[in-house]
Amino acid sequence: MCGIAGLIHKGKSSNVGGEMTAMLQALKHRGPDSTGYAVYGKPTEGDYIMRLKVAEAEDMHKGRGIHQVIVDRIAAVEEILAEHGAAVKSKESVTEYALRFVLGHEGDTSVMAEHIEETEGVEILSLGNGLELIKDLGDAADVAGLYGLDKFKGTHSIGHTRMATESDVDIRSAHPYWAFPYNDVSVVHNGQITNYWIMRREMERKGHRFMSNCDSELLAVYTAHNLANGITLEQSLRNSIEEIDGVFTYLVATKDQLGMAKDTMAAKPLVLYESDDLIAMASEEVAIRAILPEEIDTYDPYDEEVRVWQA
């Protein structure tokens, strides 16, 4: 079933971490397996924020050897960063397997990202100037508490509560997906993609990598491919309705935009609220009411509807 939510403040920052937590907690019943956030803080030109995981949450219960493996993997990542001339300005680890780096780096980061992911067991969750992508097992309150998201200031955010139907309950199959290696692009999805393998093979032939067997990852790769080829976000969303089969409603966020697309059958829900300074959307009205308790006007977008908002 899965629950998705998104919000974007126009021209101002807000506590998007706290707001998204309230929205996702209200959607907990749609998916209790894992919760993920993509939050966008103030972009820092030249500095990159990299979130990565060096093991799965369930790996931590697989014997004492894992701790040394994690130390080795982090050392390998730091070595690759140094090779690419990335200055580590700060390094935090909220859990043993999830780290946050602030990097000083000039030029293209995609090769560096590819090299880091060559390290076994290491997956970059996000890389960008503004994007921070956090996902872990448990509900929104658990994840927000663990990663200190309650006070995150930013302009926009998308989030996801996952009910695993197509692949495993683990962090690699949790949403949001970062559109590797395209900086600051993330995707959340509710639905099932029926031409996943055809599209995946097509994307793989074009040189894109897949980290999981989750059909939603395809949307992230697909969007990254389009954006890399100079297609606008809005056009990419429109093309996806033609090219991707199945039932889906998905949200895409970039450094300063938030977009949505709904399939031809309008089979997956989305409720929208729009005002001059805030746009909020979620699978259920109850999530929007979690941050806007007063009486407001909301509506359901129709089939094949595509919208893009600017921060």
């Binding site: 031809t264 059958m265 309008a266 829900p269 409720v271 259920e284 009205e285 109850v286 999530a287 929007i288 009411r289 308790p293 009486e295 006007d297 909301t298 509506y299 359901d300 129709y302 089939d303």
Partner: protein, 289 residues
């Protein structure tokens, strides 16, 4: 049935004829149906256990800190105490509010509800001063539901009776599988509205999305605006004076009468080229209906 000739049928009494045609009588075992349709019972049109409520007895429930189960339980308690007008404050998108009310009641919801609002009802008059989520009024049997703002998809799915009215626009698959009653939409409706409709009437004052009335068996859809496309076997029919009179009466009743009247409405019915009731044996027909 194939084994009975027309000549034989003419000789039979009405009772023998329906039996020969495959109709069967049966003792309904469902407790409520059995009691409700007892021919010896006093003539009454409410369920025997329905509480006697007084519409002038009014109360309010602030639902902000309550769960859906608590709210629906509280409504029943208040009805048992004789309250005939109940107002729900601060629903804030809660799901399944006001479901399963099987007797007369004025229920007013001051705000928006989530999914499956006021489904499975039989008799109450409900006004929702807000928006409703997916599947509002699903399977309603009778009564009136009035929604002041927009509604989500599968609005009035499988309704069997009563009037379900939305002043705003509704989502996709409105009146999917509807088996009776009336759905009235003041604004637009999305794709596949009236999908597999079997009976009843649906009125859309605004525009309708693609595949309107797809695979409908029977029933009538009236659209005041543009139709993006009709679905399989949904065809346009002549808007008769009887249709116009009915539309005028219904739309006037709910304050949705367009200024330019009802002459511009398009009437959509089933073309009956697909497998439909008329092709079925009476016994099969009975199973479906």
């Amino acid at each position: 049935m194939a084994s009975v000739s027309d000549a034989e049928l003419k000789q039979m009494s009405q009772e023998e004829r329906v039996t020969a045609l495959g109709m069967r009588t049966e003792q309904l075992t469902g407790k409520s149906l059995h009691i409700e349709f007892d021919p010896d019972a006093e003539e009454r049109f409410t369920y025997p256990w329905a509480p006697e409520v007084d519409f002038n007895k009014r109360t309010e429930i602030d639902t902000v800190d309550m769960t859906t189960t608590e709210v629906n339980g509280r409504i029943r308690e208040l009805m048992a105490e004789g309250y005939g007008t109940i107002v729900l404050q601060n629903p804030r998108g809660k799901h399944s509010l006001g479901v399963g009310i099987l007797s007369k009641l004025n229920l007013i919801i001051e705000g928006s509800t989530g999914y499956f609002g006021v489904g499975l009802i039989d008799g109450p008059n409900i006004r929702i001063n807000g928006r409703v989520g997916w599947s509002c009024g699903e399977n309603m049997m009778s009564g009136t539901v009035m929604i002041e703002k927009n509604a989500g998809s599968t609005f009035g799915a499988a309704i069997r009776g009563g009037d379900l009215v939305c002043r705003g626009s509704v989502g996709s698959r409105t009146g999917i599988d509807m088996k009776g009653g009336t759905i009235i939409v003041g604004g637009d409706t999305g794709a596949l509205s009236g999908f597999m409709m079997q009976r009843g009437r649906m009125v859309v004052c605004g525009n309708a999305g693609k595949n309107l009335g797809d695979s409908m068996y029977d029933g009538t859809i009236y659209v005041g605006g543009d139709i993006k496309s009709c679905g399989v076997d949904a065809v346009e029919a002549e808007l008769t004076n009887l249709d116009k009179a009915w539309l005028t009466r219904k739309l006037t009743q709910y304050g949705l009468m367009p200024e330019k009247g009802v002459d511009h409405f398009t009437k959509i019915v089933a073309g009956k080229q697909l497998w439909n009731y008329d092709n079925l044996e009476p016994s099969e027909k009975k199973l479906i209906l």
